[in-house]
């Protein structure tokens, strides 16, 4: 049997060679961190500290009463210098707690380490993951404990760990699989226990044979876990594509993975969950791939949350003169930043500095109806028609063409020979369609 697959997708240049062989190293602990009170999907946190308060590493400094939310923690020890709006990589300013470090890196743990999964009940696991502030580290930043709390009547039988890392350039998950396989297996056990799921699958693209080998070794003797080689193709790591490829189940349109008995978590999230249980460590750092031709010394770094991208880039030798684009995340779905003055947040998988040669220019040419976008769309949409509808403000038509189902993976824009920013047009249509539905 060949590698697990799905219909559609594209094959962008991987560009992972810049960092794939570089082990994760700890970046220097910054002297200042900016911790936004919202780094997740859901309700923003309220600050638990005041300006002037002394804080230690791991101390919870923001939390919310809401279920769909995740607390934030101090990632360095020092004093709260300010609580004020600050640049957020998602584009607008968000209230953030700014901590001036004291250089001592003093920790305080509010969670007791637990050695065995069996020592915790599913409720205790969920409570622990919530108080550790863990969210989806792949980029979506959905609170992890919410995914582990399926509604009544939705039985989950399968947990999928996403090790596809299909975004070009990024190697953070690849390195975690090579360097922390036990943590991933332990984290998967924790997730399976919390959900009562009997099957755990780790999906890895087949362009990472070393990760496949290491993970297969790590699950040896565990009859309820398997490692699945996925065909290397973007967006193999997209939730619906990953579930289809590994289980042949199709998440219904407008539905969630739990509708087909599946929950997925990213490799990075799984490691964070393992650390929260085994070490009692809240989410105060994550692996970030700092790369792109614009970065002088690309690296996979363990970075304290709240570290400013500018400090991180400086740590990597600074930017080359011809850098023309700075991106948080991967090149397919990441967000272009106007400045390096933004903090690393929980969903920051990479910081990319692209030169003019690497970065694409979309010129919005004439559609020649080549159907490349139709072939590439993993959701079976006809991107060019939706884009045309959006361009002419025909949102009823866009809705009929299922604009709301778009997963914004970017395949259509990537493949378009006329350089039409199809994804951008469809985003406009999708936002309008969803807004009309809410009305």
């Amino acid at each position: 049997m060949g590698a697990a697959n799905f219909r559609g997708g594209v094959h962008p240049e991987h560009r992972k060679e810049l960092t794939a062989s570089l082990a994760i190293t700890a970046a220097t602990i910054p002297r200042k961190v900016v911790i936004p009170l919202q780094q997740h999907i859901g309700a923003p946190c309220e600050p638990l500290v005041k300006v002037g308060d002394a804080v230690k590493v791991g101390q919870m400094i923001g939390d919310s009463e809401a279920f769909v939310s995740a607390p934030v923690h101090a990632s360095i020890s020092g004093t709260v210098a300010a609580i004020e709006p600050y640049n957020h990589p998602l584009g607008r300013k968000v209230t953030a707690i700014i901590i001036e470090g004291d250089g001592r890196d003093e920790w305080c743990s509010e969670l007791e380490p637990v050695e065995k999964v069996d020592d915790l009940s599913p409720e205790e696991i969920r409570a622990r993951i919530r108080s550790a502030g863990i969210v989806g580290l792949g980029g979506a930043a959905f609170p992890a404990h919410v995914k582990l709390s399926p509604p009544e009547g939705k039985a989950i039988d399968t947990v999928i760990i996403n090790g596809a890392e299909c975004e070009p350039y990024l190697t953070a998950d690849h390195r975690l699989m090579l360097e922390r396989p036990e943590d991933i297996v332990f984290g998967l056990e924790v997730i399976m226990k919390a959900l009562g799921a009997g099957r755990g699958i780790i999906g890895i693209e087949d362009n990472k044979p070393d990760a496949l080998r290491v993970m297969r070794q790590a699950i040896e003797g565990k009859s309820d876990m398997s490692v699945v080689a996925l065909k290397t193709k973007y967006p193999q790591g997209a939730e619906k594509m990953l579930i289809l490829a590994t289980t042949r189940r199709r998440v219904p349109s407008g539905g969630l993975p739990l509708d087909v008995g599946v929950v997925n978590h990213n490799v990075g999230t799984t490691v964070a969950i393992a650390e929260a249980v085994r070490k009692g460590k809240p989410l105060i750092e994550r692996v970030v791939t700092v790369t792109g031709e614009g970065v002088k010394r690309p690296a996979n770094l363990m970075v304290r949350l709240g570290t400013l991208a500018g400090d991180l880039l400086e740590y990597c030798g600074g930017l080359r003169e011809d850098t023309c684009k700075l991106i948080m995340g991967g090149p397919m779905m990441g967000l272009a930043q106007p400045t390096a003055d933004f903090p690393v947040v929980k969903g920051t998988s990479g910081i990319l500095a692209l030169t003019a040669e690497e970065a694409a220019v979309y010129e919005n040419g004439s559609c020649i109806r080549c159907a490349s976008c139709v072939k590439a769309c993993p959701i079976n949409l006809v991107p060019t028609f939706i884009a045309q509808a959006a361009e002419h403000g025909l949102f009823d038509r866009a809705e009929k063409l299922h604009a709301a189902d778009c997963i914004e993976c970017g395949c259509c824009s990537y493949i378009c020979p006329a350089g039409i920013p199809l994804t951008q047009w469809i985003r406009i249509a999708k936002a309008e369609v969803l807004a009309r539905r809410r009305r």
């Binding site: 962008p12 930017l319 779905m333 109806r369 993993p378 006809v382 378009c416 020979p417 920013p421 994804t423």
Partner: protein, 323 residues
């Protein structure tokens, strides 16, 4: 960093493919066909194709007031395809008028590349057929003189195999495959056409559904109906596939991206429709050949086909029947 960062919506990388690179691939794919045409019909084939391409590119450049004569390459493709639908012995002004009509009436009047409804090369050909039909589709065709580049090919003429006369019927399978028979420049050699089309398949520029549907329909109807109202034992399914413009049409004309459906099932319907109309004209119509008008008719139906063949989205739940 010089302080100027570009902000744009994702994705931030792009394929190296462009409209121009696709058009160059089509020209490469037409290479073997053009080569065989020159080998068979000599200098007049070369002149007709060169004039067709040149006139198309020049017309487009003038119309768009653009200095770059080659541009996106689409005009060159149109000009070459038009020339390939002409016999070798046409006077030089036939491809000139045809190419100019193809570019202006077939393409630019609709708004340029991507906007036209009909295949421009076939629009050009249709206009030529209506205006100077006897020079294009009569019963007298030059006989190819392989490897005689400077030969005057108008000296010996015959009917095309499709025309129906017994003498024209006597063509062997190897003649049909190599193309050593009377016909238009680009339509005689099956091997060259298939060879060229492989490049387009390999590059992913054409989908199997259009040529597949087209050729399968022609073969099935040819096998079942033979010569139609013209009872003729020579006319088999294979004969219909290898004579006339079916291969050129199915592989290079019907697959024109702009004027064929974008949906997978739409492409199949389009191909089958082209095959059906081609055979109806061949077997029951007044013309011996029907490729041009079959494709033009299906071009007109393309928006409708697209509309009714929007694919089922991922995870679409079948609507439950309400009690």
């Amino acid at each position: 960093m010089n302080g100027k960062l570009v902000i744009s919506s994702s994705p931030h990388v792009r394929t190296i493919q462009s409209v121009q690179s696709i058009m160059i691939d089509v020209l490469i794919a037409l290479g073997p066909v053009a080569l065989v045409a020159v080998l068979l019909f000599g200098k007049q084939a070369l002149i007709t194709m060169a004039v067709g391409m040149g006139a198309a590119m020049l017309t487009e450049a003038l119309w768009l007031r653009r200095w770059n004569i080659f541009g996106d390459g689409s005009a060159a493709v149109t000009g070459l395809l038009l020339a390939m639908t002409l016999p070798a012995n046409v006077p030089w002004w036939i491809p000139v008028i045809g190419a100019a009509a193809a570019i202006i009436i077939g393409k630019q009047l609709y708004g340029g590349i991507g906007q036209n409804i009909f295949n421009p090369a076939l629009v050009g050909r249709a206009i030529l057929v209506f205006s100077w039909g006897s020079r294009l589709s009569g019963k007298i065709w030059p006989v190819p003189k392989p490897f005689h580049f400077f030969a005057d090919i108008s000296a010996v003429t015959t009917a095309t195999p499709l025309a129906g006369e017994a003498e024209a019927m006597e063509v062997s399978l190897s003649q049909l495959l190599i193309g050593n028979m009377a016909g238009c420049l680009g339509e005689t050699s099956a091997i060259a056409l298939i060879f060229g089309a492989f490049w387009l398949f390999y590059k992913g520029h054409i989908d199997w559904r259009i040529p597949g549907g087209y050729l399968a329909t022609v073969w099935i109807m040819g096998t079942l109906l033979g010569g139609g109202i013209y009872i003729n034992p020579y006319m088999t399914g294979l004969f219909h596939l290898l004579t006339g413009g079916v291969l050129l049409g199915a592989l290079f004309m019907a697959t024109d991206m702009v004027t064929s459906p974008v949906t997978p099932s739409g492409k199949l319907i389009f191909g089958v429709g082209c095959g059906l109309i081609t055979m109806l004209i061949r077997l029951y119509g007044a013309y011996p050949e029907g490729v041009t008008f079959a494709i033009l008719t299906m071009n007109a139906l393309t928006p409708l086909i697209d509309k009714f063949t929007i694919p089922r989205k991922f995870g679409e739940v079948k609507r439950l029947v309400r009690p």
